[in-house]
Structure formats: C-alpha cells, structure tokens
Amino acid sequence: MFASFRLSMTWMHTWLGLVLGYVLMICFFFGALSVFDREIDRWAIPETRFEPQTLPSFDTLLLPIFERMQPSKESLAQASARIGGKTPQHTSAAGFGAYTTHRDPVLSLFTEYHVTNNPNDPHDHVFGNTTIDPRTGRQLRDDQLKIGSQFFYPLHFSLHLEWLEIGYWLVGIAALVMLAALVSGVVIHRKIFRELFTFRPRKQAQRSALDLHNLTGVVGLPFHFFFALTGLIVFAGIYFPVAHTMLEPVHELHEQRELAAKGLAFEPAGVPAPLASVDAMVAEAKRRWAARGMSGEVGFLSVAHVGDANSYVSVYRAGTDRVTLTGQGIHFKGTTGEVMFEEPPPSTIEGITDFLTGLHLQHFRHWLLRWLYVMGGLAGCACIATGFIFFVEKRKRQHAKTGVSGARWVDAMATTAVTGMVIATVAMLVGNRLLPAELAGRGAWEERIFWFAWLAALLHATWRSAPVQQARISPAWREQCWMIAALCVAAPLLNWITTGDHLIKTLGEGYWPVAGMDLALLASAVIAVLAAGKLRLREMGVARPSATSTDAEAAHA
C-alpha cells in the first residue's frame, strides 16, 4: 500500500492524527485544566473557599454523618434497572470511605450498601456520597457541580460518554494514536536537532504552522509520550479486562488467598459488634509512618463490614513528597483497634507501576511541577492545533482549484475543537456565576451551558468557513478569539460581583486557588486579543509572507 517505510509513517501520522486529533485536543486541554481541578472547584463553589484541612475526628464528626447517609438517587436508579425496575432493598451501610488531598478544603465521604433483592447477583451494591466541610460537618448541596474535579477531569478520560464505556475506549484509541503519531513524527521530521530552535512566524502559514507543530511536538516529546502511555496503563483494566473475564477464577482465588494472608475477611461474620475508636487507629498509623521516616497525613480511610465482628479499618497515607503513589496502608481490626496488617513496601514491578501511575495522577505536592505540567498540556494542544492548521493550509489551494470542500470542513471542525472548546469552558464558568444560587439542579444547568456553547461554536465555525473554499482564512477563528476575550474578562468580573472576591483581595490574602484562576482568565483574554489582531492582519493580507517557497519537508508531509 505504501512505497516506503517513511511514506507509511507519513500516511499514518496525517490521517490518524487528523481523525483522533479532535479527541486528543479534549484530553490535553481538559487534562491540563485537571492539574488544578480542585482549585477550579473552589472558584465554582464559593462556600468552599477556605484552606485545605486534614482529616477531622472520625469518632465525633464523621461517624454520625456516615450513619445518617443514604444511597444516592443515581445509584438506586441503576440498581433498579438491574433488577427489572423494582425498588432495591438495601441494608444499612456495609462500608465507609473518606478521601481527601493536600489541596482540598472539603472532604469526600462514601458509603456502600448491600442490595438484598437482586436474584442474579447476591453481591450487588448501591452507593452513597457526600461532601462536607470538615471544620463543622456541614454537608454541601449535592447538586452543586465541582466543575474541576467532577466535570473537566472526567471529560479528559471519558468524554462523559459512559454508555458501554465508549468514551473510555475513544480516549484509549486516541492515546495509542498519540504514541504512534510521536514515533512517526520523529521518522518524518529528520532534522530534529538542527531545527530544534526554529520558529519562523513571518513565513507562509503552512511553514510557520509546521515549525510550531515540530517545536511543540519535539520539546514536549517525553511529556506527551509518557502522559499518553501512563494514561493507558491507568486504565489497563478497562482495555484488557482479563481479571473479570478469562482469568476470573484465577483472580478470585488469589484475591481470597491475599486477604486471608493479611488476616482480612472477605465476607462479614454475621455477628454484630461495635466499632472501636478509629481516631486511635489513625494516631497509631501516623506513629508507624513517622517511625519509618515517612510521616504524613491520612489521604484515604475505609471501614469494611461495618458493625460486624469481621470489620476492619484501612488507613492510607496522602502522598505528597514523592512522585510514586504511596499508600503505606495499615489495616486494623475494627472491633479492637489492633494492627492486623501493615502493607509491605511494593515489589519492583508494583513500584514501577506506582511510579508511572503516580506521574500521571499527581498526588504530589509541588507547585512548580504542576505549572510545568499545565505548560506541557498546552504545548500538546498547540501541537495538535498546528497539525490541523498545517493540514488545511497545505490542501486548501488544491481544493479551491478543484472545487473540493474537504479543507473547509476540516477547518470548521478545527476551529470548533480549538477556540470553540475554550469558549465552552469559559461560558460554563460565566454561567456558574450567573445562575441563581438557589436553582435546583444547578450543576446540570452548568453542564448544559457548556455543551450548548460548544454546539453554538460549531455552528458559527461552519457558517463562517466559506472563505476556506477560496483558499482564504476563515474569519471564525478571529471572531471566536474575541468571544473568548469577552468571556475571560466577564468571568473574573462576575466572580467579584457575586462573591466579593476580587483580585486585590485574593492576592492580598494569598488565596491562590481563586487569585490564580482570575489571573489565568485575564491572561487568556490578553492572548486571545493578541491572536485576534494577528489573524486580522493575515486575513487582510497585510502581513505578507516573507517567502512563498516551502521546503521539502512541508511539501512532503
């Protein structure tokens, strides 16, 4: 099919890059935003704008809340669907979980209940969840959307397409194609070191787009490669679900043996027994971590077989000073508080896996590295966007001559995927500030605003892209840049008006989650205005390209 290895790699890079590039834009952009997902949550839910807290007292604060919690409506609805529409009957909570990080002011609580009337699955469960202010125990309204951690973050790994996990599979294929695009990019781009520092914005759009594409691709190569690879490893259980299919009997056998070796019960005993002081267990866990030279705070705490003689409490450390996912889990007997099992240091293979997944999931505390991650993610976006632009620039003259409209549709889709995506994001933040505070289902409305704004951007881009069919620039890019600038100024302004937290106040207090967001929004507005200006010059043909010849590489690609 291809005359040479290089041509086969070029074809693969061009066409797979084009098709999956749209998905990859979402992964890289919302992945970059997810680095600061919890800070975005603070901006979106003003009542959570206070300092991060450590885990509060389980015995006095958390236990009463756990005991009052109920399964969520969504979980009950899903269970009902599994048992043919009947109302699920459930026990009182069989399991508790609490999760926090060094960046979270609020605490997430989870509960698990056995479903007793599912004839097909005796182990069926329903789940409950809530978020509390750990200083007072007050629960947040459950229809307030954590725009960072509950919307942008899952968007980047599942596209919010949960049905049959299709979104996860699309992202997985896109990640694989990213790896292949990086490898093939190196094969195609022969002068990697000679052209490492080359960027010529005054040349024709095709050449300068390719320069920037090569620059952001090469400079970010280790970053893009490792993020795509580690993302795939994190979800390996979805892409190759061996443990629940062919290898299920082997997996079950080993899991039971493992729990037995740790002294942890797979099933409850059926004998009621009270829970000992969990606060004392937490104190003991911290003492043991400190003794091992790894002192820290609790990141995750779970109670299994609540109220039963076989109950056990597992305490895990919040990882902050290492890249690797550190758990240092310690398991306690629920009824007495004695230590049953301390997780040993990980084996070599587990250590490598923990390091690679830790690299991606970023539980560590390192503000510079987080910002560098954001830059890497945005460089990835620039690489994909310039890839689209190069594709269109290279073909639009040809298509204009032959009357084919392909370049126009690719350009419209590219506008939607680049500026359109940013419009949707900031429109959602503006909506977050404009919607009435007491609106029921507020979170769902914010999501609708996001998708509607993106659809509007698509329609606008499609409508305005006709000039591409005459080999000119679509004005949609410039117009959407202006839209972004307007939204990026409106958002911090509305934040000030609706919450009183303006930049001078937040900078003065050093409250970075909100100050950082407002500054980032304003900086984005400046960049959008500069971009709009440059685009206007190009559209009017004032910025004459300095050479019309493109070199062999630009013609070859």
Binding site: M1, W11, M12, L16, L176, A180, I233, F240
Partner: protein, 103 residues
Amino acid sequence: MATTTATPASGTLQVISRVAASLLGSWLFVWGLTVLGISLGVWAGADYRQMESLMYLLAFPVFLVVFCWAYAAVSLKRVWLILAGGGTLMTAAAWLLIPSLAA
C-alpha cells in the same frame, strides 16, 4: 501518497482493512499476549497480581510496535495472519492452561 492500488474501490477497502488490522488485530494480539503471559507466570509459581501488573506494563509498548508495523508492513495478509492469528493462538493456549490454575 504513493500507493500500488489499481482502483479507488479496492483502495478504500485496503485502507479500511489496514486500519482494522492496526486496531483490532493489534488488540487481539496484545490480549493473547497478556492472558498467556499471566497464565504462564502463575503456572510457574508467580503471584497473580505481580504478573498482571507486569503484563499491563508491557501491553502498551507492544501494542505501539505492532500498530506501527501494521502500516509499515508490505503484505497486509501477513499483518492479519500474525496479529489476529497470533492473538487467537495465544488466547487459545491460555484458555487451555487456565483451568489447571484455578484449582
């Protein structure tokens, strides 16, 4: 793009077959490798979880290599044979081995 196809129709079919081989063929190949690798490891006495972690680490680099090879290879028939055929063989071998591991 220099191709050796004669007609547009067979060209499209070639493209679809090539892309399918790169995705489906590679997936089947890596599936087979993963289940066979874990099964052989457990059979040789290794811990299940360790073998699963190891194979999951190897799965994606291997996927990347065979994926690119699916495009670089001259004979599409050979790509399907090795990827889908090889994947099926490895899966079958694992399927035969597993019952003795779950005892």
